[in-house]
Subunit: 186 residues, 2 copies
DNA sequence: TGCGCTAATGCAAATATTTTGCGTTAAGGC
DNA sequence: GCCTTAACGCAAAATATTTGCATTAGCGCA
């Protein structure tokens, strides 16, 4: 959406509606089982007409994906521990914890399930890349060795996500082992 | 379902309905865009009443997941190339090709999206494990070294699936590099 | 500030879907 | 061959989605 459009500015009507709808979704997700999470229910809680939601998001899946992408966004840069390996280790452990939680799993599923917005998964991955890049930049600034971001994705992130989605969530020890594997290379 | 139930035997009415519905889903998936893939549409093509589908599967997502689990099942054991590494390499490349395809991505998404049947992702992973185990057993029979199945999941399978779902599908070279990494360990 | 323009929303009717109660049917056990 | 039971079809009811039209809020501009 270009910034010349009426509703896309902060404080505009469009933005208020979006905020209200997002809040309604989160509120409904927090309380009841997923059974009550329906477009009319969200609309009612957001003090909005269902048709508004359908027109803006198309269907429930897209709305959920939209909310999920925002919720999955990291709060801030990775914590600093003194070393690049420590930073990555701490970040990976926290990331694994978030993705392993039932909430995190739901977020990933919502993001993957939306058949429209097919670029949401990539955006989600780019958020992760950015976090890893930050750690990498820090390492470079201190002349520390740090693996390629894509390698970190393959060796650390991918197993965390894969196990969280398909198998059992990885334990903290398992995550540490993944980081160790990264440093054991070459 | 216990085997004492009436419809669960091959050739029974229940089985025929299931086969017809599954076929209808595949047929609809093959032709049109996903827009026409709806429960009434499947029911019509399967010569069945929508209520039958709703009662047996609950909703479209569960039906799609059910079909997807069957479709994702491997045809046979991994091809034999003469060495364990060769076997894994060939298997991984084919697996990556299947998961990278739009069909494969849809299957994985369908499996993850079904909120009921929460054990489908694990079943899907177990199919993969079984294939890897077969290669491992062969290796053991020949006194070849072969990594732990869980390690293969982390190093080879997870990146393939993660990249297929969230990023860009991995190239054949990338997959080979994953296998190499596995053998480079220790 | 006030005026006009546009996109977004509300409302309500039309359409499509999902759910449910009840009678019927098909398959297996005896 | 009869009995039992789970699955199915049918149709009505409930719910969700789509759509046309009128209204409104916000923005640019004078």
């Amino acid at each position: 959406m270009s910034s010349s459009q009426a509703g896309s500015r902060p404080g505009g009507r469009s933005a208020r509606v979006q905020a209200a709808v997002h809040a309604a979704v989160k509120s409904l997700q927090a309380e009841a089982g997923r059974g009550e999470l329906t477009v009319p229910a969200v609309a009612e809680r957001a003090k909005v007409t269902p048709s508004t939601i359908y027109r803006r998001w198309g269907d429930l899946a897209s709305l959920l994906a939209d909310v999920a992408v925002e919720r999955i966004r990291p709060d801030g840069p990775p914590a600093e521990t003194g070393s690049a390996k420590g930073d990555l280790s701490a970040w990976a452990e926290q990331y694994a914890e978030e993705m392993s939680s039932s909430v995190g799993q739901e977020l990933m599923r919502d993001i993957l399930a939306a058949r429209s917005q097919a670029d949401n998964p990539a955006r989600c991955c780019n958020l992760v890349r950015a976090q890893i890049d930050i750690i990498g930049e820090r390492a470079k600034a201190c002349n520390e060795v740090f693996p390629d971001t894509e390698t970190v994705l393959d060796v650390v992130v991918a197993p965390i996500v894969y196990r969280s989605l398909f198998v059992d969530p990885p334990s903290a020890e398992h995550v540490q082992a993944l980081v160790e594997r990264l440093w054991a290379e070459r």
